[in-house]
């Protein structure tokens, strides 16, 4: 990013970002500086990519015209703690409207790939078309600016995510990597493949500790394009910490915003995994396909129980003081961490344990690691497998696939493995398509074609308006347990005035786990770019970016019937929940009217 004209208050057009466009069909590369059109263009992430996606009408995800946009935010690659995010955007093979059209999606991840991309001199890479043969892209800094080239990737074929990264790491020093696993290579049969990004810890320890951009099948898009990996090679470029930036980083590492993700004893609750405890108090931990039983089964997967048998280390992305990665190791006889087993974040832990009936720590670690190494979104595969298990329990006379039901580790492992290798397209195409083909969609835990994260829909009408995954693009998933408010005014306000601003960090390049309030975000922007952005401007840009997501959904055929929750919520309320039951069809119908009454006029302005 570069500011021209030297103005003290630059306009968006004075801000240039550097884009590299690679035509995978011809191998042609174009690198150019692009002036920004508006503030969300300046900030980056999906704020920019969704405007680009809107420029083309795409009827199917797997067409050459469906670009894969890999970009960063202004804070990516800076000295702001957690400024490590990379965004992958495209029309999704997984998230589809009821009319069958693909929806615009982005997915984000940390690691160090995004920083290396920035340091190579690029803010954004667009992959056009499709390569006829498997390739990987190398983006590097040269004496005259950034360079890009495609290389044959035959040696990478069939390797899992970690193996691909370690293979490339042997050839490219000073580099970080974004790759797909076998699931992405099997894109035709697996729409839920993730993009894995390397971490410093991984390259040094040789343990499989990637971070993932999981949602919406962006790894499947890479697979379709025959792009098996991306190398970003550049020397680390560290700035000089100003006193304000040092204070900001200290506030991120020790303040209330990141406390949830820090270790116990360091002013934290022990990571997202610790969601189990408060959610269990009101019996809303997903169990057996999002149907809590009101008993104490979830206790078995709480961290104190797992810690009795394993060693847990809090580790981090590069230079992050939050240490949100809760990595589980075998415990040596001396009580020290031995062999690395898996990461235990809340979503993979819940959706691949309690929600599929597994309770043994080794079994859960096994399937989490399997999902990661095959390169799948743990939310989508976990939720879809839970549906299969539920279906088989309901239909013992005509079970699907291997007949797996809840708690059967070996069979669940087999389902995941086969799906990730492209041998079970019925699962790999996601729970919406599977459940509709079986004519039993009511207990398929998806909204708008995207599988639900580990918060039950009975507690969150906001899912209907999330634009890129239910817990990362609408912060309403925890509100019922937290406040217990079931009034219409409360939920309209939560969705239209508060929840959507969760996506602010998906423009900026910072991690939501930094927990920066708006004042901190503005300080970060000022310190690393010199840009003076007001809070009102930042929030307005975030809101426009979010609403563009809804506009794009509707352009892709989403209509009123798509904005709903799984039918089970309305038709068979769960009596075991310890929170108020309020989601009647009548309530939801009125909520929709009131939410759209707020959003629609703003969406029409954006469309004009």
């Amino acid at each position: 990013m570069r500011i021209v004209n030297g103005s003290a208050t630059p306009q968006p057009a004075d801000v240039l970002y550097r884009r590299c466009t690679i035509d995978l069909g011809s191998g042609a590369v174009r690198i150019e500086e692009v002036p920004c059109a508006n503030l969300e263009d300046v900030l980056g992430g999906f704020g920019r990519s969704f405007q680009m996606l809107a420029q083309r009408e795409i009827k199917a995800a797997y067409v050459p015209e469906n670009r894969l946009i890999v970009n960063t935010g202004l804070l990516t690659g800076t000295d702001v703690m957690t400024g490590l995010r990379t965004y992958f955007s495209a029309y999704s093979p997984l998230k589809v409207s009821s009319k069958g059209l693909p929806s615009a999606m982005w997915s984000a991840g940390s690691g160090k790939f995004g920083s290396k991309l920035k340091w190579a001199g690029l803010d954004e890479v667009i992959f056009e078309g499709r390569s006829a043969t498997p390739v990987y892209a190398v983006l590097s800094e040269g004496p005259d600016g950034p360079r890009a080239e495609l290389k044959p990737a035959d040696a990478l074929r069939g390797l899992d995510t970690h193996e691909k990264i370690m293979h490339l790491a042997g050839d490219y020093p000073d580099a970080h990597f974004a790759v797909i696993g076998q699931a992405g290579e099997a894109y035709e049969n697996c729409y839920m493949a993730a993009v894995a990004m390397s971490t410093e810890n991984q390259l040094k320890s040789h343990d499989d500790k990637c971070r993932y951009a999981g949602r919406g099948g962006m790894g499947s898009m890479m697979g379709y394009k025959n792009l098996l990996g991306i190398v970003a090679q550049a020397k680390d470029k560290l700035g000089k910490l100003t006193p304000d930036l040092r204070d900001l980083n200290r506030a991120i590492a020790t303040g209330p915003g990141s406390a949830k993700f820090r270790e116990t004893g360091k002013g934290g609750t022990g990571g997202t995994w610790s969601n189990y405890e408060p959610l269990h108090k009101v019996h809303v931990v997903p169990e057996l396909n999002f149907r809590p039983r009101g008993d104490d089964q979830p206790v078995k997967m709480m961290r104190p129980e797992i810690e009795k048998h394993f060693a847990i280390k809090a580790e981090s992305c590069w230079r992050c003081g939050i240490n949100c990665h809760k990595n589980v190791y075998e415990r040596t006889p001396e009580g020290k961490p031995g062999k690395y087993l898996a990461k235990f974040d809340y979503e993979p832990v819940n959706l691949l344990s309690t929600n599929v009936g597994l309770e043994d720590g080794h079994e859960v670690a096994d399937v989490i690691r399997l999902v990661d190494n095959l390169g799948m979104d743990s939310i989508s595969i976990g939720t879809t497998v839970a549906y299969v298990l539920d279906y088989n329990q309901r239909h013992p006379d005509k079970p699907l696939f291997n007949g797996a039901t809840f708690g059967q580790h070996a069979k669940i492992h087999e389902l995941i493995d086969q799906t990730g290798r492209g041998k079970l397209p019925e699962i790999g195409h996601g729970v919406k398509r599977l459940s509709e083909s079986l004519h039993e969609p009511g207990y398929a835990m998806q909204v708008k074609g995207l599988e639900l994260p580990a918060y039950i829909p009975d507690t969150n009408p906001g899912y209907a308006w999330a634009i890129a995954g239910g817990h990362m693009s609408m912060a309403t998933f925890m509100l019922l347990a937290l406040q217990g408010d079931t009034s219409m005014d409360y939920w309209v306000d939560a969705i239209t005035q508060k929840g959507l601003y969760q996506v602010r960090d998906d423009l900026l390049g910072s991690c939501k786990f930094a927990g920066m309030n708006h004042k901190m975000a503005l300080t970060a922007l000022k310190e690393v770019t010199g840009l003076d952005v007001t809070q009102d401007e930042l929030l307005a840009a975030t809101r426009r970016a979010f609403l563009r997501g809804l506009v794009l959904e509707q352009r892709q055929g989403y209509d009123d019937a798509d904005y709903t929750l799984p039918a089970q919520v309305f038709e068979d309320p769960n009596p075991n929940l310890g929170v108020p039951s309020f989601l009647t069809p009548e309530f939801f119908s009125e909520l929709k009217q009131r939410v759209w009454a707020v959003f629609r006029p703003e969406m029409e302005q954006l469309s004009a």
Binding site: P256, G267, T272, L482
Partner: protein
């Protein structure tokens, strides 16, 4: 100098945008009561049926007060009390 209470996002929003509030108190519970007296919009969130909302977590100088003496934990001038929501996404 009193006890400095630091509030995470939505708690700060309910406190009118104040992310830190300084109060005079001798226990964690008294500090929280002083907080909600000054910012009544927080009261319904911090207190549920008259008890501390167990969907929140309070830290006194980096220590989870549930592992201390909960609301009866003594505080003194200069202490730092952090209040966060117990559930966050990820």
């Amino acid at each position: 100098m009193g006890v400095r209470i630091e509030l995470a996002h939505m708690l700060a929003d309910l406190a009118g945008g104040a992310d830190t509030v300084e109060v005079e108190a001798d226990t964690v519970g008294a500090a929280l009561r002083a907080l909600t007296a000054r910012h009544p919009a927080l009261a319904a969130l911090v207190w549920r049926d008259g008890r501390f909302n167990d969907q929140l977590v309070a830290f006194l100088n980096r220590h989870d007060v549930r592992h201390l003496q909960a609301l009866d934990t003594p505080v003194q001038s200069g202490d730092r009390l952090m209040l966060i929501t117990a559930v966050e996404g990820g």
